[in-house]
Symmetry: C2
Subunit: 479 residues, 2 copies
């Protein structure tokens, strides 16, 4: 329990807008959005400035109180849920929601941690630029959380993950000191890169309070295509061809198994297959140009796909004739998770392997999982060009009690899939991070050198263990 006088100190520090111990106000922030983790916290701190974050952190360090930084609370791995013993306070960055500056000339936006992703999208659009990272939770997810989880999305092929878009960072370290690395320097070799260390650190070694983010030109000309292919290998060959012919104007390259498409067509009203014949695998492609010229995006994509068809890398192809058709193609991709859920209970994995190994992984790991767990169906879809797919193992047909099936089989299937990933030189967390959910598996599978490094960094920055406890870093006993 946190002493009352300590809570009073925080309350005095932050004023009524910045402090609440009202259980009802705090409740929504004690559970992750998937409802799998439930925590407790006596109060929620909502500082309005970097100085206030620093003051909270200094007080927390002095009193040995743990803080759990929180943005939009959209973690997929319980990364922003406080421990359930009430030993920590939530520190929300949501009041720090100002875009300090934004410049089309410099292609740069300086955002506070609490800026919501879609707000930044709009601000960039208003000056003829865009921030090229997007994901389903864009209406809630905040810049601070996106940085702290090194978020990905569908545009990584062209623009990289959050790491590639962060040019500078401001953070409060666990002793309350402010690290000011906001200046966007393209070359800076003053020792270990603290910015890189904070990206993806899940708030365990400091609190990101602001960042300088790279903007890119707005899209002026867009083409979206749908291609039927025989195998994931063929899809990868097609990607290589597109990269060779079109360079990095290819922004989206999503692979979908035909059974996934089938689930969408069955469960999502108003969807139809974009090509005439059903093929074993499908590819959704987006090509974007910053200005309208000749040849157009559609003409370029068409020429490259014609070559792919002639070379036998594709069975059939269609290019969206207008924006409505383009949206319809993308809607299939974006409905896949919902359709899969409608199909029955499933375990879903966010994994990556080297791109060249992904086609084999998609077919071989799926077949192996089905053999090992009879009755299950394994399939995958997603970002082939990033070596990152969403790998699903569905419960046997007729499984009514999903939670019971997961309780009985989950751990064994988790271990099976993760072992396959490690055998392919891959990562058990491509996009979502470790949080609470994957800490055990990380402990089981990481090399001793990797575990030692994670623990050493954590201990170096947060010797008192007051930064987002229980997340990311396996404990001394684990692994």
């Amino acid at each position: 329990m946190i002493p009352t006088d300590t809570l009073a100190h925080f309350a005095a520090l932050l004023g009524p807008k910045g402090f609440t111990d009202d259980a009802e106000a705090i409740a929504p922030w004690l559970t992750d959005w998937r409802g799998r983790y439930h925590g407790a916290a006596a109060a929620m701190l909502s500082p309005a400035s970097t100085a206030e974050v620093a003051a909270c952190m200094a007080l927390a360090a002095e009193r040995g109180i743990a803080l759990v930084p929180q943005g939009g609370n959209t973690s997929m791995v319980g990364g922003a849920t406080p421990p359930d013993d009430g030993s920590a306070l939530i520190l929300s960055l949501r009041r720090m929601n100002s875009i300090r500056s934004i410049s089309a000339d410099d292609n740069l936006a300086v955002c506070e941690a609490g800026v919501i992703l879609s707000v930044l999208h709009d601000a960039a659009a208003a000056i003829g630029r865009r921030f090229p990272l997007s994901l389903g939770a864009k209406g809630s997810a905040t810049i601070g959380g996106l940085i702290s989880t090194n978020a990905g999305g569908t545009q990584v092929l062209r623009h990289g993950t959050m790491r590639a878009l962060v040019e500078g960072i401001e953070a409060v370290l666990p002793d309350g000191r402010i690290y000011d690395g906001l200046a966007a320097l393209k070359k800076d070799n003053r020792g270990y890169d603290i910015k890189q260390l904070l990206i993806g650190a899940e708030g365990t070694i400091g609190i990101v309070t602001a960042a300088s983010l790279r903007l890119v030109p707005a899209i002026a000309d867009r083409a979206v295509g749908w291609v039927g292919v025989e195998t994931p290998e063929q899809a990868l060959s097609l990607l290589r061809l597109l990269e060779a012919r079109l360079g990095d104007i290819v922004e989206g390259f999503e692979v979908i198994a035909d059974d996934g498409l089938g689930h969408v067509l069955s469960h999502i009203p108003g969807t139809r297959c974009p090509i005439e014949t059903r093929t074993p695998w499908h590819v959704l492609i987006e090509v974007d140009l910053p200005d309208i010229g000749s040849p157009s995006a559609a003409e370029r994509l068409e020429a490259a796909l014609a070559e792919g068809l002639a070379d036998g890398l594709a069975l059939d192809a269609a290019i969206a004739a207008n924006d409505a058709q383009a949206e319809a193609f993308w809607r299939i991709r974006e409905s896949l998770s919902e359709a899969e859920r409608a199909q029955g209970p499933a375990l879903q994995y966010d994994i990556s392997v080297p791109v060249a190994r992904m086609p084999a992984f998609m077919t071989e790991a799926a077949a192996a999982a089905q053999r090992a767990f009879p009755g299950t169906t394994a399939s995958s879809f997603g970002h082939l060009g990033d070596g990152n797919v969403h790998f699903h193992v569905r419960a046997p047909k007729g499984t009514d009690d999903g939670p019971a099936w997961i309780a009985a089989q989950g751990q064994a299937i988790n271990a099976f899939v993760h072992d396959a990933v490690v055998a392919s030189g891959g990562s058990i967390s491509a996009e979502h991070g470790i949080g609470q959910m994957k800490r055990g598996e990380l402990a089981r599978l990481a090399s001793p050198a990797h575990l030692m490094s994670l623990r050493a960094i954590k201990a170096a920055f947060d010797p008192k263990g007051i930064m987002n406890p229980g997340k990311l870093v396996p404990m001394a006993g684990e692994g």
Copy 2:
């Protein structure tokens, strides 16, 4: 002094090819290539494999012996020179010089640390690709050293520094454990990014033994232009125009003051000004395309420059008519340092500031330096688009004894220039790192949060202080 039996252990471990205590053989590696730092070492270890590096490191850890990793020994800041008290051994990576694999399909080369940069250039060219990082020392500099210093060069505008080209890393940590992060994963969120931490760490927290490196398409069509402009501000506006019109096919954008050009024309035989009229500032531009198409690189550059001339962003422009002319344009840029040296003694600074602030810095900091140190001439040239210029302060005319002038004025001028850099939110080390040379200035100028972070990381990975001692991290007493 290192005990004889410890040396015998290393000798037994590595065999005759991997161990020498012959003073003559070691001598060339005890001095940095500019001849400013001189060290001592009882032996030089030359392991031939990652396992041998790990065995050396484990033995060094057990005995408390410091190791100084060394590649091509081309550090500009004394980063690879052992301490002069003989307390450390040199560990050369030069025998680990194999390219383990290289693939055009995957655009990937897996290189050991000792591979020389120009060897990788040739290997990439042989498969129709290129490794897009180059610098003057390419015939000696090794991959391990380039990673450990996060090297830059003239292609950073388009392809980034070494950090952007490293997709995976293998390293031996100070306790002898091997960190295997070689798999090239485009998405991997398993905690703090150890790869990013090792890049630019100057061998102070581990020894990079191999890396997976990104290749890009070979250049098929190249255009090189020379533009006369009135001010650095105009040069930056021209760069913005080129980026808007040509996107990221602009690979080179180098700014040169007219007095620098004048020194080249005076001191370097066979050079001539590429444009008819002398202008206050000059810009060298290179545009590269991966295939020969229409419009060509020259046509694209010409159209963009025509717009720049029409908009008043340029006074005059010329495009090289052939390869020989292109080489002549580049020769001016590459001869600048030599010409400046012929002009008389000077202090040279490797600094960066945010791109938008660079034009003002180039004129204002130069004027301020000349006011503060009467008789001196300050000027700059280099990578405007990276916010990184080579800033020079030349001794007053008639200064015969350069070393005496540097001894008398060097420290004050260093402090003056670095203070100006910090005031502009910049970095006192853009490309070269900290090494021994800039440790004091880093201690003086870094924020407490930055210094604390550097020291915490160093202590966490290398608690015994046996990895490249005396480099990068300011000591507890400093700063």
